[in-house]
Symmetry: D2
Subunit: 140 residues, 4 copies
Amino acid sequence: MPDLQEHISASFSAQGLMTTLGAELVLVAPGEVQIALFPRPELSQQHGYIHAGAITSVLDSACGYAALTVAPAGLDVLTVEFKINFIRPAVAERFVAIGRVTKAGKTLTVCQGEVIGEHGSRRETIAVMQATIINVPGNT
Amino acid sequence: MPDLQEHISASFSAQGLMTTLGAELVLVAPGEVQIALFPRPELSQQHGYIHAGAITSVLDSACGYAALTVAPAGLDVLTVEFKINFIRPAVAERFVAIGRVTKAGKTLTVCQGEVIGEHGSRRETIAVMQATIINVPGNT
Amino acid sequence: MPDLQEHISASFSAQGLMTTLGAELVLVAPGEVQIALFPRPELSQQHGYIHAGAITSVLDSACGYAALTVAPAGLDVLTVEFKINFIRPAVAERFVAIGRVTKAGKTLTVCQGEVIGEHGSRRETIAVMQATIINVPGNT
Amino acid sequence: MPDLQEHISASFSAQGLMTTLGAELVLVAPGEVQIALFPRPELSQQHGYIHAGAITSVLDSACGYAALTVAPAGLDVLTVEFKINFIRPAVAERFVAIGRVTKAGKTLTVCQGEVIGEHGSRRETIAVMQATIINVPGNT
């Protein structure tokens, strides 16, 4: 796991979009990855709330990295597809995207994820995702 | 339609995320909206290609605005959910996200969309989306 | 809840397809409904396993009825859309489709569900679903 | 193609569920397959309309067989996942499920499909699907 954490942390840092969004990798565990996102005007939709695309981007990354934690050594992962439902307004002090592996196969991994909105001690699910990820030959 | 174009153009300009991504509104027509996106290091995933989240964000906006072109006057729209398949590597000189209305209902509108990658005169579909959008009371 | 159980039981019995599939309503609780399905040649795909469509049909019904358990009195529900992943071969002595409400809204309810395959005491998830259901005026 | 038509026709006939639903294979072409379904009380939901699960089952089969028309010789296909939107009431004299290949890859094929409801000469889209299918070693 230390190697896995380092590997995922390095990969995350190399994602220009995550830096652009101000996202932070907060947890890497076997089968689960969490990424935090903070509301900023640069991420807004037309009414000032955070854009569904920003929420989706960090949850996609959380699911992809969750899949990577269970992929055979040396392989990389690509998102095949996902579906996301937005179930509450994306208004919070901090958002945490949680990706969890539902089933890891030889070729495909299915993940389920959610984005939690935190308001002080209150936590609410903002969005839920179901994603399919494919193992591909690694770059290194 | 001039009013609709102005309305959507103003709304698009108010989306901080679209500015952050460098996205450009290129077409507003009844039932169809197109948004362009350009590859930049700020939008990359770990291998330097454009991040699936950036592709998804502009296609979500294109579908949402396509739904807005057919919504009753005075109403606004929210994305209920969508599903996206990534079918080719997101490598191109320019990406065009095209959202089209499949069925406009009183409450819900279903859109289908795709992202085209342009390489000179070659055009390839990079991703396809199926989305559900809901009409909500407008802010103004 | 007795009324709700009776209402859902009567509605289930009126679904010709559930009878055709040999499906059985096994649990009705607030926010959760379970439906059982048994392997039969009449439900097979080309290799003799149970067809994805049969699995999907009972899980769609389980999610729809789960949404109905939390709908305002007098309203009925319709499936807007769903997405399903098939994560293990549909081979079991009995299948149980479980639909659970993730978020009940005034107009839309989001459910998540799974189909469990039972082999003796072993239970494995066969499929997972994420569904959107809409409240509509009831028939009575 | 004659071989392909025979192969798909034989496979379709071996699907117990398609026989149970009374579905008929009406077109097999490279990249496209059509399956017809007829309203019957045995396929109904609680209000007498055709059940979403029956509609979904034939569209899943149409997409799967469309993928099979473009799969390398000797391989078989399995549905990985799909998403379906129901956009009009499933009321018609005949339904035609149309599955079309959007992108055929070495491992995965993405299909898009729709179900058309026919009322005399009028034809309306009832449902739209986006599906991911995987090539697997064939049984023969």
